[in-house]
Amino acid sequence: MFFRNTVNNPLITLILLLSTQVFSTAYAGDTDAKNIERGLAIAVEADKRDTGFTDFTANMVMELRNRQGDISTRTIRLKTLEVIGDGDKSMSIFDAPADVKGTAFLTYSHAIKPDEQWLYLPALKRVKRINSKNKSGPFMGSEFAYEDLASQEVEKYTYKYLRDETIKTAEFPDGVDCFVIERYPAYEYSGYTRQLAWVNKDRYVAEKIEFYDRKNSLLKTLTNSGYKQYLGQYWRPAEMLMENHQTGKSTLLSWENYKFKTGLTDRDFSRNSLKRAR
């Protein structure tokens, strides 16, 4: 999910990588500039490795847990279409709880421009365009904000490489080598000042992300686990745990049934198809 991007141009990647080289030689003293270049290069590489999946579908179970440990569950089906030259199109359809069954979101995401988003309310048969400028609000009562679940374009952030670090995870109890990079939202309505990401050096996926709120204090930590590789290229986590440190609440997303290159087209992401999505 991390750094998934479709605005990927191999030439730009090459130029960026080359310029990283040039900068590191010419301005070896200027570590800040070097780290900014390096941070971007990592993001671009992660993005490049996740390009070309065309489309995927998956099922998701979302478990909301409050401070007292009460759990409520939502089940959602997700479809994503890769769009070359722009952000992805995606549709999420609710199967449970029963009172919101058939409710569906359609999102055309963009790198810097606000996304276009429609909500389908089955009881009213109403397709409602949502004011999606402010994406910092919670998604269906969960600890995930809309912006956390949106397609992650390279252009959505500026980056800075901080350090290499070996962290222990469920999959790598002895430790896994990561780049630690800091990213700053380019989007002016973002709910974050910055995010810290631990990017697996081998797979170029995020093992962990820390989110800092507008006051720059630690708000949430996302831990991805159970990564599996699909079609020999695309890594997807089986679980994403978002813990809110300020409220003590958490949300666990469990992913199942990932399918890639299923033959989805623009037609499956129209507003008419939103009414049929169920």
Binding site: L64, N66, D70, S72, T73, A96, P97, A98, D99, V100, K101, K113, P114, E116, L124, K125, R126, V127, R129, N131, K133, N134, S136, G137, P138, M140, G141, G191, R267, S270, R271, N272, R276, R278
Partner: protein, 404 residues
């Protein structure tokens, strides 16, 4: 009670089909109480009403999702109001998707428009007014619908055979107008082919970035009565009337634009009456305003929306509630696991200062239950204005529904 029989038959059929083909079955059943704060204006009316509701739904798709059948039935049994005890086939449709076009045949529902406090251009489906005075509920409409979504916009074309009459509270029902609109008697259709007129409608809609708009045309029997015709007096001396329906042409516009946390909305319609005593009358109505959303108030996950909408009607066809009114409202969205929401607001008549206020609060209980609480009050309406009838009808309503 013929309707109840059809509903029961259809429910059994649906249940049978589910067992036979393992298709998708869902819906809700629920109970509702309505408590009126004041004694009624007519002796036939009551102070407390109980009712039960069921809305089972059946869905089956095939052909990779390119074809589906949807059936949604509705039934409400009201303790006292015979007209509110009613059933409806909300949906009984077959949809097929072709390369560029989507075709739907059967009974279905469509929604047009953007405004929050009045649905002005939304004309395809008749209002199930006896369900709630907010006119949000609609009756199923027979239709042939063809729709195509292109880069240059979306076109919807409708052939609408068969007219549905608006539902109204019965003699024992509340809230209701002083004049009892008797839907058990034949309504008056003042055009030559009466209720058998085949209506036509079309809509073009599109969006460009942060702007979204729709243009719609409807030609056929207007869903809103153009008049009410006196029949007789009830035993307690209230007038009994029947609605008069006329042929109309309605040209509608709806649009919205997004600027930061502001959403600006406008709906407008021009209605021309083409039959009966009011033939030739042109009438203009509009509703417009904004919704401003304050996301994450006071560092919480809660959103607070401010809704302001102005309503205008030149009232040339019939007197309406929304002639020169301002609707103001607050929407609290808690963004919690229970999807708690509160919408509170009021309509203020700029001419008469009459106020209609409402609170709607809802939340989920556990995974399968929802509850909704509403209060509606009506103050200060002048005699001979439409709201005057409701002056004793302030009420609280509580709904508890089980979803499956």
């Amino acid at each position: 009670m013929k309707n109840s029989f059809y509903c029961l038959a259809a429910i059994s059929f649906v249940t049978f089909s589910v067992n036979a083909f393992g298709a998708e079955f869902s819906g809700y059943i629920g109970a509702q109480t309505r408590n009126f704060f004041n004694p009624p204006s007519a002796p036939e009316q009551h102070s407390n009403y109980l009712s039960a509701v069921a809305e089972p739904e059946f869905y089956q798709e095939w052909d990779n999702g390119d074809q589906n059948v949807e059936i949604k039935l509705f039934y409400r049994a009201d303790q006292y109001d015979e007209q509110r005890t009613h059933g409806d086939i909300r949906e009984l449709s077959w949809t097929s998707v072709f390369e560029d076009w989507e075709l739907r045949l059967g009974i279905s529902k469509v929604f047009w428009g953007v405004a929050e406090t009045q649905h002005l251009v939304d004309i395809v489906n008749q209002t199930d007014l006896v369900e709630n005075v907010d006119a949000e509920d609609k009756l199923g409409q027979q239709m042939i619908r063809a729709s195509t979504e292109q880069d240059w916009g979306t076109i919807d074309l409708f052939v609408l055979p068969g007219f549905r009459e608006r539902t109204f509270a019965g003699i024992e029902g509340r809230p209701r107008t002083e004049a009892i609109v008797d839907t058990s008697r034949n309504a008056i259709y003042d055009s030559s082919n009466g209720k058998n007129h085949i209506d036509l409608a079309a809509r073009y809609s599109h969006y460009i970035g942060e702007w979204e708009f729709g243009l719609s045309l409807f030609s056929g029997t207007g869903r809103e009565p153009t008049d009410y015709s006196f029949v007789t007096l009830s035993s307690s001396g209230q007038p009994i009337v029947v609605p008069v329906y006329s042929l109309i042409t309605q040209l509608g516009f709806d649009g919205q634009a997004f600027f930061g946390d502001w959403t600006w909305k406008l709906e407008a319609a021009n209605i021309e009456v083409r039959s009966g005593a009011k033939k030739g009358i042109n009438s203009f109505k509009t509703v417009g305003g904004f919704e401003y959303t304050w996301v994450g108030i006071a560092d919480s996950g809660m959103d607070l929306g401010f809704v302001v909408e102005y309503h205008y009607s030149d009232q040339r066809i019939i007197e309406t509630i929304f002639d020169n009114d301002l609707a103001t409202g607050l929407r609290f969205v808690f963004n919690d696991a229970q999807s708690s929401e509160i919408l509170a607001g009021m309509f203020t008549d700029a001419n008469t200062q009459a106020i209609a206020s409402f609170i709607e609060a809802s939340r989920r209980l556990g995974d399968s239950w929802t509850m909704e609480f509403q209060v509606r009050t009506f103050h200060g309406a002048k005699e001979n204005r439409p709201l005057y009838s409701f002056r004793f009808d302030d009420f609280a309503q509580f709904d508890l529904n089980y979803h499956f």
